[in-house]
Symmetry: C5
Subunit: 153 residues, 5 copies
Amino acid sequence: MSYKIGLADTTFARMDMARIAEKTLKENLEGVKILRYTVPGVKDLPVASKILIDDGCGIVMALGMPGDKPIDKVCAHEASQGLIQTQLITNKHIVEVFVYLDEGKDEKELLDIVKERTRKHALNAIALLRGRNNLQRFSGTGRRQGTKDVGEL
Amino acid sequence: MSYKIGLADTTFARMDMARIAEKTLKENLEGVKILRYTVPGVKDLPVASKILIDDGCGIVMALGMPGDKPIDKVCAHEASQGLIQTQLITNKHIVEVFVYLDEGKDEKELLDIVKERTRKHALNAIALLRGRNNLQRFSGTGRRQGTKDVGEL
Amino acid sequence: MSYKIGLADTTFARMDMARIAEKTLKENLEGVKILRYTVPGVKDLPVASKILIDDGCGIVMALGMPGDKPIDKVCAHEASQGLIQTQLITNKHIVEVFVYLDEGKDEKELLDIVKERTRKHALNAIALLRGRNNLQRFSGTGRRQGTKDVGEL
Amino acid sequence: MSYKIGLADTTFARMDMARIAEKTLKENLEGVKILRYTVPGVKDLPVASKILIDDGCGIVMALGMPGDKPIDKVCAHEASQGLIQTQLITNKHIVEVFVYLDEGKDEKELLDIVKERTRKHALNAIALLRGRNNLQRFSGTGRRQGTKDVGEL
Amino acid sequence: MSYKIGLADTTFARMDMARIAEKTLKENLEGVKILRYTVPGVKDLPVASKILIDDGCGIVMALGMPGDKPIDKVCAHEASQGLIQTQLITNKHIVEVFVYLDEGKDEKELLDIVKERTRKHALNAIALLRGRNNLQRFSGTGRRQGTKDVGEL
């Protein structure tokens, strides 16, 4: 079995998220083929993701680290809207992995969140690529990425 | 009479909303066929719903439990915009069933809201599937889902 | 002369706005044909309006009474965006008639606003249906619906 | 040389902005043909503008005076989003001329802003219609419409 | 090797950003062909960018300086949404270069930001035009435009 997965990332981010994603994907999906696309910031991710899908990717991970100012939140919001539109145009999932620069209480915690969120969403991407019922056993179990799962009520 | 209904749900939610929806649908619509699709979070619901409709569903329920932080509200807003766009592309209804994690005063109340809102919207989905005048007798009667109806003025 | 007008309304509203609209339309447009479509809430109005237009309506009135909580305002905003998109897809007007549950100082005033806004917008719908210059004599005259006209500067 | 320009305006506005626009256009563009379209409020402008372009207008001015309440700002925002979408669908410019009812310190100042903004944007519309380099000599010169130009840094 | 790059700018901006961009592009991309398009404000940039792409540009820089009032932020937000939509329609990148009039503590600093952001994004545009892996060596290195790079965590 062979899959083509796109990784769209940014030069704005403060960590090479695509490298983490690539490592997790390769360890967990035999024969996976990775296509990378690097853009300046999160607002450039929608069209990059679209081009990756047009080039044959079955799924894309859109990786970014928006800043901590109000304008950065607006940028991330616009990027997210664009990523959803891209999915509706292409009929493919784009797993958005955004970590805000003010999410951690210090750089150490921020790094941990980035690594964990990217790794867990890479596993989500594989599951989604395998079909629509692969995540069903986790339905409503309060799963989180980058922070602790909160569990079922 | 036979109908195909899609249920798109998330692993982020803290309750298996699709199970409640499925139970209500089966009890109230003979011969209903259910297609499930489980995604990580609410922002993944639009394309999942679109694919369910492309696979023959006459209507989809998009089930999610957004978090209680400001960023979670933004995510839900983006998801809702995407769900409306999906409906306009497909000409099918998507019944959005979102329950915010901070809606109830405690876990017990939250659970009750989730169950009741899901159940009532499953009935709405059946009515919408049956045609555009099935809910007309309730026009302007102040119906709510998950909280008490407020009634007509 | 015969016209087909769509009325999309909700079960969430606290008054049967479609009945008021229908009465005004029938009194003021001979031979008018009304198609109704009732949905749960305002976010379901865009696709309902689109289907009404696809079924031959030359114009649609989208009738709703959004709630008074912040989340309700967001829902109404999403609905409005969807209604504008629907108009751009179909090249037909959709007259949005939204009355917020917190617009009146009491139930009596709220009722008056609903009736008056619905009635006036029904007349607007007829004018728009008749052609693009039917409202021109009122250009810039500060007309309001549901509250007093404010007049020209 | 002959041009067809659309003027979409509202009955909500408190001044006949289209009359000012028409006067300026006629004084400054020989042989101009004006098509008018009057709608109730700013949210009705996107589809009206689209229809004007479909009817042969090379450019449209969308004229409106949104109210001074928070809900009015949201309406104007939705209208603006729709006008941008319309431009992307049609590949034509729509010059948005919005004046908020709370922009002036009194009615006199408000009137002056409306007149000046409409007049200056009518000239912009003519320049845009003539080609993509007609405004180039003013690039980055801090031009404003309705208030004083702020100039180059 | 020959490339066609579009520069869309505004008369609202307080500096001729296109001139800076053009200089950087010409110094760094031999045989580059520049197409300019000047519009009144940032909300006019999406359709201008689309037309530049339709006229053969492989990439566009959308240059603007939004004002410092709340309404100006909303305008810039709408423009950004439109620019993302344009990219999804055309499958081409549009590098948004927006500098807010309140970004610098004085005019001198503002000028420096404009120059530096425009220059750096012109280099980004060249890199993007050359292919999807040209920026990959900078992935996650915390690059900024107009302010100091923040570096990798």
